[in-house]
């Protein structure tokens, strides 16, 4: 039986989270000797993009009624085409809203925020994030089928080309409960949860007018920007950038923390970053205890200089 995967697209376009979910489904399929079937709703991107990560089959659901997102209607759509006993979702905002509804419809176990391939597939058992980055849980599914959501950037994107085939499935699901009034989405901006590199700054930056240098550094690194909680509380930066126990949990390859003290609540959300660099003028800042590399000094001097040096490296 195929391992299914929900390949999320945003306005028709596949993003990294979809490729990561397909890569993860492929890893499960390799263990169980099965094939991978991806389900996507109204994609405009080519299925070739999913074959590259191991999808043997892509079911493209076409449904005008699903033009706008609704957790319930999307769960229903996936339910119509999913006829296996394992399905993988990326733990993105939308996909992670669909998965619990599908779990009830199917009467399957739901395990969210998986960070590694399953330790066993029968019964299904996997390591997952818990306590907001302060621990891990090994969770075991007790039902006949399992729905698993994978934490973004935890498993990674792994190429593993399959010679895939595509099937189009026309559905007509009605969504009468929700209506979109306004949709604001910037396409150019790097998604914080998908980003491989994140430059984050805290109260040490003194004020929002000083964020230019943070953005410059982020630009040369191809990074997304983030901030500590108080910075978003006082409105220096938008809430969407707040990382930590009560904000977003992220796991980029590189996390650069500038003028952030390293409170336990902040660390919880970022300590699964692979490499952490801390820049702080207080040598006693707790963040240095949780960093791989550190510079003790004034961010206002260090950040512009560092930006130039990285620019030089990248230009070389």
């Amino acid at each position: 039986m195929a391992v299914f995967v929900y390949a999320e697209n945003i306005n028709g376009i596949y993003k990294k989270a979809a490729f990561e979910a397909v890569s993860y489904a492929k890893a499960i399929a390799a263990k169980t000797g099965d094939s991978v079937t991806a389900i996507s709703i109204n994609p405009t991107d080519s299925s070739d993009l999913l074959y590259k990560y191991g999808a043997d089959k892509v079911i493209n659901v076409k449904d005008e009624g699903l033009k706008n997102f609704s957790s319930k209607a999307y769960a229903q759509a996936v339910n119509e085409v999913f006829d296996g006993n394992v399905i993988v979702f990326p733990h993105t905002t939308d996909a992670s809203s669909v998965a619990p509804m599908l779990a009830i419809q199917k009467n399957y176990s739901l395990i969210t925020n998986a960070i590694d391939v399953p330790e066993s597939t029968s019964p299904f058992q996997v390591k997952r994030r818990a306590f907001s980055g302060k621990g891990f849980m090994h969770a075991k599914a007790d039902a006949a089928g399992v729905i698993v959501t994978v934490s973004q950037n935890a498993y990674g994107v792994k190429e593993n080309a399959a010679s895939g085939s595509e099937e189009v499935k026309e559905l007509s699901i009605t969504n009468e409960d929700t209506k979109v009034i306004n949709h604001e989405q910037s396409s150019g901006k790097l998604d914080l949860k998908e980003a491989e590199v994140v430059v984050s700054a805290g109260r040490g930056m003194k004020g929002p007018e000083n964020w230019g240098m943070i953005e410059d550094l982020a630009n040369v690194l191809g990074a997304a920007t983030a901030c500590s909680k108080p910075v978003s509380d006082i409105g220096w930066r938008p809430h969407t950038e707040h990382v930590g126990q009560t904000g977003k949990a992220i796991s980029p390859n590189l996390y650069v923390a500038v003028g952030i003290s390293g409170a336990i609540q902040h660390l919880a959300g970022v300590n699964s970053s692979k490499t952490i660099v801390v820049i702080n003028n207080d040598a006693e800042a707790p963040f240095f205890k949780s960093a791989d590399y550190g510079v003790v000094g004034d961010a206002f001097q260090i950040i512009p200089a560092l930006t130039e040096k990285i620019k030089a490296l990248k230009g070389a």
């Binding site: 769960a75 739901l110 969770a139």
Partner: protein
């Protein structure tokens, strides 16, 4: 309007998280319990609707008697009454079943929750409750208004936000931004006194089977000691990131 706010009782955010020696369970020794911070946004939003629209706000928690202090805090913040389903929360599914039953019996028009509990990070209960009740579901809400039989919600999406209208009854899961941080209510003496006499009903669970079992737990492995680079030698930092960590 009747609003049900679901609160989970979680370790205070400053807690160090330890597990029992056999790693089979979370070690609750010395832990202070608080309302899940994301649920506090939901509760505050409900209190605002109570003030502006005369809504009544009931809080519900699925938990053993140990959670009552946290429930009393929600009452002190301003909820009208509370229900505790008397069972230790074991997995998202069984918790969702209990909440759905309470919601159904009480005929609530709006079920408000947090997007995720900071202890088990399920992010699962709200969607499950919505499906069990066959209500529409809005996740990651950063704005909410109620007008008659409809609500207008703003939800966070990747790279932006979306405003939607939702037919009530509905389930809405909130997060930071649903209300301003400065509007979070700190209970005053009057609130605390009145909370003592507000109704806290204890109902017995339906003993639903669990669908996910926590087999064991691991702590986070500590990082190796930090390598400090002097501020005058940023070339060395760039070199380390490029050659050693291979991240730039």
């Amino acid at each position: 309007m009747k609003i049900l706010v679901c609160i989970s009782s979680v370790p205070d955010t400053t807690s160090k998280i330890n597990f029992t020696a056999d790693k089979s369970a979370f070690d609750k020794n010395g832990i202070q319990w608080v309302i899940n911070p994301l649920d506090e946004f939901a509760l505050t939003k409900a209190i605002k609707l109570q003030e502006s629209q005369g809504a009544t706000v009931t809080v519900v928690n699925v938990g053993d008697a140990g959670t009552e202090a946290v429930i009393r805090k929600a009452l002190a913040i301003g909820a009208n009454d509370a229900i505790r389903v008397n069972t230790e929360a074991k997995d998202s599914f069984s918790v969702a079943k209990e909440i759905a039953r309470v919601a159904q019996d009480g005929g609530y028009e709006l079920v408000l929750m947090g997007k995720e509990s900071i202890d088990y990070n399920g992010g699962a209960v709200p969607g499950m409750v919505a499906q069990l009740l066959n209500f529409p579901f809005v996740n990651a809400a950063v704005g909410l208004d109620v007008n008659g039989s409809e609500a207008t919600a703003v939800r966070e999406i990747e790279g932006g936000k979306e405003t939607i209208s939702v037919k009530l009854p509905a389930v809405v899961a909130g997060q930071k931004g649903l209300v301003d941080e400065k509007d979070l209510i700190i209970p005053n003496m009057r609130g605390i006194m009145s909370a003592r006499t507000k109704a806290l009903q204890v109902v017995e669970p339906s003993n639903t089977e669990v669908k996910v079992e926590a087999v064991s737990f691991d702590s986070v492995a500590p990082r190796a000691a930090v390598k400090l680079v002097s501020a005058g030698n940023l070339d060395e930092l760039v070199r380390l990131l490029h050659e050693e960590a291979k991240v730039i």
